[in-house]
Symmetry: C2
Subunit: 337 residues, 2 copies
Amino acid sequence: MVKIADVAREANVSVATVSRVLNKKGSVRPETCERVYKAIEKLSFEPNMSARNLRRNETRVILIVAPNITNPYYAHILAGIGDEARKSGYSALIYNTGGDEEREKNGMDMLKKRRADGAILLASNIDSMWVKEYADKYPIVHCSEYVKGLDIPRVSIDNYKATLEVMEYIISLGHKKIATISSSNSYISTLLRLKGYKDTLERHGIEVRKDYIALAGAEYSFKSGKAAAFKLLQQKDRPTAIFCISDTIALGAITAAKEMGLRVPEDLTVTGFDDVDYTTMFHPYITTVAQPCYDLGRKSFKILHACMNKTNDIEKKVVLPHKFIIRESSAPISTCD
Amino acid sequence: MVKIADVAREANVSVATVSRVLNKKGSVRPETCERVYKAIEKLSFEPNMSARNLRRNETRVILIVAPNITNPYYAHILAGIGDEARKSGYSALIYNTGGDEEREKNGMDMLKKRRADGAILLASNIDSMWVKEYADKYPIVHCSEYVKGLDIPRVSIDNYKATLEVMEYIISLGHKKIATISSSNSYISTLLRLKGYKDTLERHGIEVRKDYIALAGAEYSFKSGKAAAFKLLQQKDRPTAIFCISDTIALGAITAAKEMGLRVPEDLTVTGFDDVDYTTMFHPYITTVAQPCYDLGRKSFKILHACMNKTNDIEKKVVLPHKFIIRESSAPISTCD
């Protein structure tokens, strides 16, 4: 195996100089630097990264802790993080928790074991106070969701404001019987969207009805969205509009409506959230809130990078703009009946 | 920071004994072992894994190199690998290449840098001979796809045989104008499915027509499947059946047919491949080949584990059973016209 001493001999410099070049620290004359690189190439020298990074105490790896990576919502976030990490010479590795909090902790233990320099958490529960233990010691950034009350940098959209926009729009269409399909998870986005739903109704003097609030599964599955919609629509006094907190749920609701012989949007308005790819794969195209997923990912890495470099003035609460998009799944109440 | 010497002092044993306990090597009396564990707990000692594993030369991390992790086909494979890895005390980290071969190499360099003990490759091109360089030095297993001619363990279904089944079925329905939507990628599965398509037609004396072979994108996107179907169906002498090499492509083909006013399956038979979740999300439910994805993942890890442990008699070519499932998107030719 080629050693650093062999490279030094070949380049006719000291071991310390090779080390300075490898670690990009201290000053080395450009021509010396070039000589070292040539020697490295000639001898096919591969620095033992594990030994080297142990010394430097960094891995150049960041961890993305994700609950369910095949959820299409994460596609562009993961791409944004990955692209930005690569630009800075980092590899982004994904740890799939399947939504299990124990596995989330196991993933975070990678930081303790020095397998990664920092982590981006994609879906912490609002009350996961245990995250603090890690955040006190390691660079961590929350993306999309976050633990309430912890001083951890976070990047997200304004879920509450976005919900108000959707709800005001539905009400402006003349709907009064407006249901929501929320989720059984404990994400901050879920809470804020439910709060936005209730607050808008109250502001307009519309009663918040328990039988108009249904829950889909924690993972926003199509099946659970469909089941929740059936429950809402089988009621005698059925809603004329459903505000769904994810596009998959909305797709489930539209399918349920169709199977019951209801037309969307003529008989039922359905709105989604996130704007994943398939909102425009089937008619009716879904009215939804577009999240800037790629930018959420990029920004999360940028902040994590700043944390890892111990930069001052880390941005703590970054809110990126969303976009409400009206498509085919919503229509004025007048077209009903 | 608590050191191993502090633990030794607290437990009243030698450093070597603590080390034996930590590394589970050599013999230590149970009561001594317990004393060491108590000392570790009392002092909140955290072994420096990076230093420790450097010595032991293992990371207990395996790498999953994936082209596009949000492709629903990978969901259950990733779950299978992850579950099996956890059972053996390994963490499975995912490296997303976006289908880019350079990034695939960067991912594999993690092995060189000792960031992982082995890798499972989910989508190598058939001619990626560069994989050999890594396979000669590190434990590697191919899952689903593989490089032809390399002696690397692999787990997959029999893509050729599965295709023959689908094609024989379509022909048995009376179809003669049978098209295929293949892909522009270089996966072994793509090649074998195309070969199976052509061979079955030839065996039945049906001409293989160039204008009945269309290509979707390398990543099997819905959009590219839809575009390929439009191309096939806009021909004057249009096909009455399309054999699609993925469910997403089949979904695109069904959508294209609908937009052109064709009914599936009355006017057009469409079959898919893989049996991802949404084959039964919309009507018509898709006739397809189910892959045992979860088991493909589990088996891949098991073989990788054997490789990492340098077990003899490693299984080199594992073929798991597929299942052809007839649903609503296919029908006899007689119902056409």
